[in-house]
Symmetry: C2
Subunit: 411 residues, 2 copies
């Protein structure tokens, strides 16, 4: 199966998936077992660009309760000139107070030392249990071990090390043909929603050897994150630690200049990659049976609110899980998002079958609808009054696995 | 077990629960089987005050997708001078377009005719499946049958008739001692969250024979609904049909005047009644194992938002279900409600055990905490920066029963 496996993602033209993986030129990475997680599994990752001219961009959670590594990375690094990422799983270093900030700074300092770059060029990320101090002896040990393991094909171990409850690692390597030659793009993500006990977080690290200005990095990352990780919902819960970082080493010697065909090709590949990774996160959500896509068209001021209300509705999500063509729940979610709008002329189609027009039921073939909602990917199209807006949100279902993972557990 | 069974509700002084039920003077009610639901169960209710001077007040869902009966009641009745309520379960008459409006008006007209009051004095309510036209022959038949059954002790049948998936009927009768004599208060509610396939809605009907001005009805209902039904969450889903109606017949001859001790006594009884009914709705949510109360103190501009974020968090709700003392999820929910507030000095106590102070873990006894979260009612106290605000939200857990009821079903 190709990496680009969803019908909702168009595989990028001019790009080839490199099944064996491997980092772009200039990068080395490692993933090791540092003892933060039990059982000797990989839980510590290091990634570094050896190119001094490396540019970067980053995006973070908007939570008001930020984990210490997010605070340290936001406040004490040059976000447009990052060279390295140090990351652990098994402990989020969140709700750990002043000690947590100190620990994140030490983790940053250790990585800077072994990588031979300034501390302000090292991003820090942690994911795992909240409210427990980071075991710093493991961090020191992990830093040294990872340093010795750094390799150009270390992306696979690195992707493994950042997993928490992900059912499978999420990574890809692409070669992209541009007018000046081939550039490589690789990405590693973790996230299974925010579904696991005490664990949370989406972490995404992206590397390329294309030459991009820092401003271009920021532009491309901003646009593509908005179209991918900002358009998914597993359970409507915002993490303390979400971090997305793009590093561009420039080591291919191939530049991507603004407003060129190359920018479009590179942007399309980045866009498809992040959208597919985002869908993989939704799909991994809770061993989800099904994932949904809700598309809302109408007044540009309300489409986002309506789409999120549908995607986050426990009633819509359980119906998706059960394969229940219960569109009354969609009306209900739309109405909840638009107080005072009654009578509401809402249109609803499920997998192309119109079930509701201008707020009232449309006769439709129940068997066809029942079959449609049994698919692995179910699409809901909603029209609300007004014009100029169109948006989408991808979401997972809500089923017994979610409850089991999140409830049948004692810390 | 007393009606006032929660530790969070103080049983009102000067009031006695009348276990046998019975309506206040001036009222008659009935509940019959009209054939809207299968199986010959009660699904149609009628309630009327025989007193011409009856006053009333009402509150409705804020959904933008209002069911037809809500639209008809809001637009075509005198909400301060209602005399009768006609209600069915088994069909919400929602998303039924112009036909739905016509049907709700016909239902109103039929009830007005048999009760001998003007149409503008009859409230209409429906609860059940969305998007299916109301079977009007059943409505006609139900209206006639209910009319013949109207009785002063018809509240029990009436409460039965408004149930959809409620595990048990929710009703109470109280006698309240006031300075001028005894008045009676009765109430019937339905609502098990919005948890059942295609069904939704909270319906609450309250009657008293106290003499209240319409303005006093509105004031008392407004205050007590804010403290009860507006402070509960089963799954964060807003119904198309929520309706709360208070009718005061005045037939006891005992007046409740503004700013008197009698007003306080009556208000306290009404308040405790609605809060207990609201808790019963939460408790019935999905065969909930446990219910939670979150109390938030701090900046008055944010306490409500924070409390709802915690109460609606799928992670907090699954932890409550599992008896998991996972306070990291509470931090996460608070942070999500307060973007940009980092670093966030949040305090958290669970059942009086402080686990987090100023955003960082506080050492605590894990066994005591583990035992505390196994109780049937679990209290979370949260402090956020700022002053002047304190609020509470009651919420149900999220467990396998919720998923089973909502997913393992095909329409």
């Amino acid at each position: 199966m190709s990496f680009f496996s969803s019908r909702w993602i168009e595989a990028p033209a001019n790009a080839t998936v490199v099944e064996a993986g491997g980092l772009p030129a200039g990068f080395r990475a490692a993933g090791v077992a540092a003892g933060i997680k039990p059982g000797g599994v990989k839980d510590f990752g290091l990634l570094v660009s050896d190119a001094a001219q490396t540019t970067s961009a980053a995006r973070f959670t908007r939570s008001g309760a930020l984990a210490a590594p997010v605070l340290v990375t936001q406040r004490h690094t040059q976000l447009d000139a990052l060279r390295a990422v140090v990351v652990n799983s098994g402990n989020a270093n969140a709700a750990t107070g002043g000690r947590g900030i100190d620990d994140a700074a030490k983790m940053q300092g250790g990585a800077a030392m072994v990588c031979g770059v300034g501390e302000s060029h090292v991003a820090v990320a942690s994911t795992g249990v909240i409210g427990v101090p980071l075991p710093m002896d493991c961090v020191t040990q992990g830093t040294m071990a990872a340093f010795h393991e750094l390799r150009p094909d270390g992306d696979i171990d690195f992707a493994e090390a950042i997993r928490t409850t992900d059912a499978y690692p999420k990574r890809v390597t692409l070669d992209i043909e541009l007018s000046g030659g081939t550039v490589r793009l690789s990405a590693q993500a973790k996230g299974a929603g925010m579904i696991s006990p005490g664990f949370a977080t989406l972490l995404v690290f992206i590397q390329t050897d294309a030459r991009l200005s820092a401003a271009e990095c920021d532009l491309l990352l901003g646009v593509t994150v908005k179209r991918s990780f900002e358009r998914v919902s597993v359970d409507g819960q915002l993490s303390t630690s979400d971090t997305v970082i793009l590093l561009a080493s420039g080591e291919s010697g191939v530049a991507v200049e603004p407003q060129t065909d190359d920018e479009r090709s590179f942007g399309e590949a980045l866009d498809a990659t992040l959208r597919q990774l985002a869908l993989m996160v939704v799909r991994d959500g809770e061993g989800a049976r099904r994932i949904g896509r809700v598309v809302v068209r109408g007044d540009h001021r309300v489409v986002d609110r309506v789409a999120r209300a549908v995607a986050d509705s426990a009633l819509v999500k359980t119906a998706l899980y059960g394969g229940d063509p219960n569109w009354g729940r969609i009306i209900q979610a739309v109405g909840a998002a638009l107080p005072g709008a009654a009578p509401l002329a809402v249109d609803i189609a499920i997998e192309g079958i119109q079930v509701c027009a201008r707020g009232a039921r449309v006769p439709h073939e129940p068997d066809a609808l029942a079959a449609a909602v049994q698919r692995e990917e179910v699409e809901y199209e909603i029209g609300v009054p007004g014009e100029g807006g169109e948006t989408e949100v991808f979401f997972s279902d809500l089923g017994h696995e979610y409850v089991t993972i999140n409830a049948d557990y004692t810390t």
